[in-house]
């Protein structure tokens, strides 16, 4: 793993440590044991006879389990250790660690083994923003257990630390006096268990670590077995595909309401929670592979759909949530994430996902089950999203001006939406892709109304609205002198006229007039947007363009997967293949794990993709990217009860087979052969 940081997790419980297995967190240093957005352990340091250990190697066994091989002393070049240490750790209601010490000498040894432990019970938001705690700490040592506690009014959290071998327990940790015969070994189990009190939760017991590990291993095996298999002449694609499936398994998150089923969280480890936008996009990408993620996403987001007008949470009736958190700052309303609704794309995309899910799986029961939610989402677009009230477009402007999000579209950084000259529009803003999503939601909502809800009147109305929106949009957003769609309209109705990758999402949504599609495709693959690896978020030549600016020039793999889907939708097969090929070739440089974003430098200039530094890896929608690119390359499209296969892939990929694709057709195979010549543009 990178940066000498080791992460293991199960859902939203995760451990981040250094390469020795030690945790030595400060308020700003993001290591520790975390669960439900709270740090339950901020110090966990192993010493032997008062000395820290050095790492020989780390074995990442699975995403939920790791093993550290250590020897006494640090920083020595030449190691001649008489003893060695193995820490095997797995996540289980906190974590379980088997600590084993091996004596390699021909004499017995007597050692003092010490584990220093402490917790700051920081909220994830406090770790990010380095804030001070308001509650009080307690420490008790009873019955061979060390219990660390935190209390702020009724809010209590506790960490229980115990061992299988008896230890001397003090308020700062556990000490073992150990005698190991020559060539012998000594082992103790260590359990660190998290307890969230007050939320109707009994303190959790330490689960049997062996059974917990077996359960997680079986679950991962079943996950991999159920997914379609790949055969391909180009080996890196096989490796990338497998990496994506394993990472997606790790990114699964089972919210308390989902009855044990899971949905994709946004990123590991800091975004292991429900995000409307990220969960929906990732579910869309993974639909041909693991459709059950979409079903859980739709149900869970439906359960939390907004019903009130609440300015603090930016909540409206029908709105789909942006982010849910469980920590102290959320509990005390110092942050609005209970849940927070400040996203304007999640709501139309909710309807898009519901329809796409039905097209693949034929599961009309779920579409019936979620009829009220889908109708409320469509109503939100009409009643609440048009902030000026008379434009027919989706706008955003936060009502929570203190802790709400300013930019409620996926390009959510402060400078992402700009005019050509670099100036920034005021609020509200109506970014272009939002209008595409609204269009698509209505077209798809009409299909569901007719097919499943048996409401022709609604279908006709939605189709009429969609057609009107398309007509207006193609007039109001089209930048005539550049032949592309503006990034947004500002509050005066002016075009925010910079060129960005958002144009690709417009193709995906279907809102683009056929007559304009060719010009848009030309831009997406043109020198200003296409780097050779992928489409930049913002075009070269715009005042704010910066190849390593977060949303103003970097290449986002997730963005590109939807751009490729959009190009296919309008018949630009070769162009889609070119993007798929660039992104998948980039993936090879990251061992199959695409980062959230990489630099927008010309491919010919750097020869390799320059990673943009981000805290989370893997990121859900980057993980889903190779899956959606496989779909676009093979041209997989449900039509009635059949799966249409219409491959267009680059020559370098050679022969490609995707076997046992699940859907309403049962399981089918798809084949393709690489015939598209790519890379003539930028190398």
């Amino acid at each position: 793993m990178s940066d000498g940081v080791v992460k293991i997790l199960d859902g939203n419980t995760f451990v981040v440590s250094d390469e020795r297995g030690d945790i030595e967190a400060s308020l700003t240093d993001p290591t520790g044991l975390f669960s439900f957005d709270t740090r339950f352990l901020s110090k966990w340091i192993l010493t032997i006879d008062g000395e820290r250990l050095g790492a020989l190697s780390v074995d990442d066994l699975q995403y939920f389990e790791t093993r550290f091989f250590l020897v006494p002393g640090t920083g020595t070049v030449y190691i001649d250790a008489k003893i060695s240490v193995i820490r095997q750790r797995s996540v289980a209601n906190g974590f379980h660690e088997d600590l084993t010490i091996l004596n390699h000498s021909d004499k017995s040894v007597t050692l003092t083994v010490r584990l220093d432990a402490a917790s700051d019970f920081a909220d994830l938001f406090e770790v990010k923003d380095a804030l001070k705690k308001k509650g009080a700490y307690t420490t008790t040592t009873t019955g061979g257990k060390l219990v660390l506690g935190y209390q702020r009014g009724p809010f209590t959290r506790a960490t229980e630390i115990s061992s299988t071998k008896s230890a001397r327990v003090d308020s700062d940790g556990l000490t073992f006096r150990v005698r190991i015969p020559s060539h012998g070994e000594w082992t103790t189990g260590l359990d660190v268990v998290t307890a969230r009190l007050g939320a109707g939760q009994a303190p959790r017991d330490a689960v049997d670590p062996v059974r917990a590990r077996q359960r997680m291993a079986r679950n991962l095996d079943a996950w991999l077995t159920n997914a379609p298999r790949i055969e391909c002449d180009w080996d890196p694609l096989k490796a990338t595909y497998r990496r994506s499936l394993v990472d997606l398994a790790a990114l699964r998150f089972s919210p308390p309401i989902a009855g044990g089923r899971s949905l994709p969280a946004a990123g590991l480890p800091w975004f292991m929670t429900m995000f409307g936008r990220d969960s929906i996009f990732t579910s869309l990408q993974a639909l041909p592979f693991t459709p059950e993620l979409a079903a859980t996403t739709l149900r869970a987001l439906g359960d939390w759909q907004g019903v009130r007008l609440d300015d603090f949470r930016d909540e409206d009736p029908g709105r789909i949530l942006h982010e849910m958190r469980y920590g102290e700052m959320t509990a005390f309303e110092e942050r609005p994430h209970s849940p927070y609704y400040g996203s304007v794309d999640a709501t139309p995309l909710y309807v898009v996902l519901l329809d796409e899910y039905e097209r693949w799986t034929g599961d009309r029961t779920l579409v019936r089950e979620l009829e009220v939610e889908a109708r409320a989402a469509l109503n939100w677009i009409d009643e609440y999203a048009d902030i000026p009230g008379d434009t027919g477009y989706i706008w955003y402007k936060r009502r929570n001006e203190k802790t709400g999000l300013e930019n409620q579209c996926w390009k959510d950084s402060w400078d992402s939406i700009s005019f050509r000259d670099g100036s920034l529009p005021g609020f509200p803003r109506a970014t272009c892709e939002l209008q595409g999503y609204a269009y698509d939601a209505r077209v798809r909502g009409a299909r569901l109304a007719r097919l499943v809800w048996k409401d022709d009147e609604l279908a006709v109305r939605l189709e009429k609205q969609a057609a009107e929106l398309k007509r207006r949009f193609n007039r109001d957003y089209w930048v005539a002198d550049g032949e592309y769609f503006a990034l947004a309209l500002d509050s005066d109705g002016r075009q925010v006229d910079a060129l960005g990758s958002n144009n690709g999402h417009l193709l995906w949504s279907g809102i683009v007039d056929k007559s304009k599609a060719k010009a848009v495709a030309k831009h997406l693959l043109g020198p200003r947007l296409f780097s050779g690896w992928g489409v930049r978020t913002l075009a070269e030549g715009e005042a704010r363009y910066n190849p390593i600016g977060y949303h103003v020039g970097t290449v986002w793999p997730f963005d590109n997967s939807f751009v490729a889907w959009g190009l296919r939708r309008y018949g630009f097969k070769h162009e889609a293949a070119e993007i798929a090929s660039g992104i998948l070739e980039a993936a090879e440089f990251f061992d199959g794990r695409l980062p959230e974003a990489f630099g927008g430098y010309e491919r010919s200039q750097t020869k390799y993709p320059v990673q943009y530094p981000t805290a989370c890896s893997p990121q859900a929608w980057s993980t889903g990217t190779p899956l959606l690119l496989l779909r676009t390359m093979l041209g997989l499209e449900p039509q009635g009860d059949h799966l249409v296969v219409d491959p267009a892939l680059s020559r370098g990929i050679g022969h490609l087979e995707l076997l046992d694709i699940p859907g309403r057709w049962g399981r089918v195979d798809a084949f393709g052969r690489g015939r598209v010549e790519v890379g003539t543009r930028h190398r």
């Binding site: 809010f155 609440d310 009736p317 089950e369 009643e383």
Partner: protein
Amino acid sequence: MATTKRDPTEGFFAELAERGDEPLLRKANGTTRFDIVDGKRTTRWLVTLDKGRVAVSRRAVASPDCAIRANKALFDRLASGKENAVAAILRGDLVAEGDWRLLVRMQRLFPGPRKLKRTGTAGYARRRG
């Protein structure tokens, strides 16, 4: 105009009993027991949801699907939209146990801080009958 100030908690349950059909709760079925603690006195309410139909009673039920416990002052604030139920649960002010999916549905019954001018699904609600 002289009106006696209505007790928010009493008002909440009275209003709930009058609602009858609630589209937002059509998927939630089950019983929820509310224990409202006021000093030494605990008032108990039972809310039963059956495919969107809401029934309120003071019946005692030994094993409801959900149990919610709060002190009267907090519940008054919840009932008048001054307090958020989810945050109160996370904090531990509102103790909730049982079927989480039903709980998430139940919290929809509490009003928000602002009055709704428009109903949630105005133009999109299915016509009944």
